[in-house]
């Protein structure tokens, strides 16, 4: 949902930009200008993904997990019923968005929980038993 910098309607570097984003996504690098901005945290038991989605209600929000990918889709609404020309400033942006982030590892399919509060969606994904680190006790012979 980044503001198109090219005002002519066609972005001549669209292909390059798309590739840049794809590389960033695969390497888990921050993608400047991507919407929504996302933080990912990794601990022994779970992974937590947070996304900033001010003004996007839960009815406008769609969270999907496929393998080790998490996709957040939705629509950021426009201010209601504002006649054209009445805006003195417009910085917030609106429209539909879709963002996919790669998770540090595969989550346990069923144990995923998403909560939306004060404009932030927090998705908690439990790690599958097999991928969790296990301590192995060393016995003396």
């Amino acid at each position: 949902m980044a503001v198109p910098w090219w005002r002519g309607g066609v972005d001549p570097l669209w292909g390059l930009r798309a590739m840049n984003r794809e590389v960033a996504r695969l390497l888990n690098l921050p993608e400047p200008g991507a919407f929504p901005p996302v933080n990912v945290y990794d601990s022994d038991e779970e992974m937590v993904v947070e996304a900033l989605l001010p003004g996007v209600g839960t009815s406008e929000l769609d969270v999907t997990v496929t393998g080790d990918s998490l996709t957040i889709k939705g629509t950021k609404p426009e201010p209601p019923d504002v006649p054209e020309g009445r805006f003195a400033r417009r910085e917030r942006g609106s429209g539909s968005f879709s963002r996919t982030v790669r998770l540090p590892e595969h989550p346990d399919g069923d144990r995923v929980k998403a909560v939306y509060r004060d404009g932030i969606v927090t998705v908690r994904l439990a790690k599958s038993q097999s991928s969790r680190p296990r301590r192995v006790s060393v016995e003396t012979s």
């Binding site: 996007v56 400033r89 404009g119």
Partner: protein, 132 residues
């Protein structure tokens, strides 16, 4: 995505940037500002801010918004960090046309709405034209 359809100067409400003493670091929330028949509405994206974390203040014609991002950072190693947990700060210079005593503010789903009614003398009045 819309762009400014009028220049900011066309509006009697000016929107400023953080320039006063605030706890650093702060972030400047993006805003929409538009005019209605009865006044102006300012919307600001402040994710992580609840009703108790918000301070809206009018002093000598300047509206100041301060808001604390009060969401706890999850435990675990950060593997991707695109946003910071910093407080929000923004100032708006009001014109004489705003009835600053009747300004009201509300926050919902991380969006702050400040409603600024026009002062009585600035409101459009319909003048009835009588037949001669």
């Amino acid at each position: 995505m819309g762009s400014d359809s009028t220049s900011p100067d066309a509006s009697p409400v000016r929107v400023g940037r953080a320039d006063r003493d605030v706890r650093e670091p702060v972030q400047t929330p993006p805003v929409d500002l538009y005019e209605t028949d009865t006044g102006w509405v300012l919307l600001a994206d402040v994710p992580g801010v609840g009703k108790d974390d918000l301070e809206v203040e009018v002093d000598r014609g300047v509206l100041t918004v301060r808001a604390a991002m009060n969401s706890e950072q999850p435990t675990g190693r950060p593997v991707l960090e695109e946003f910071a947990r910093a407080d929000y700060f923004r100032t708006v210079v009001l014109s004489d046309e705003v009835d600053w005593e009747r300004i009201s503010a509300n926050v919902r789903d991380g969006v702050l709405t400040v409603t600024m009614p026009k002062a009585e003398q600035a409101r459009p009045r319909r003048i009835r034209v009588e037949p001669g």
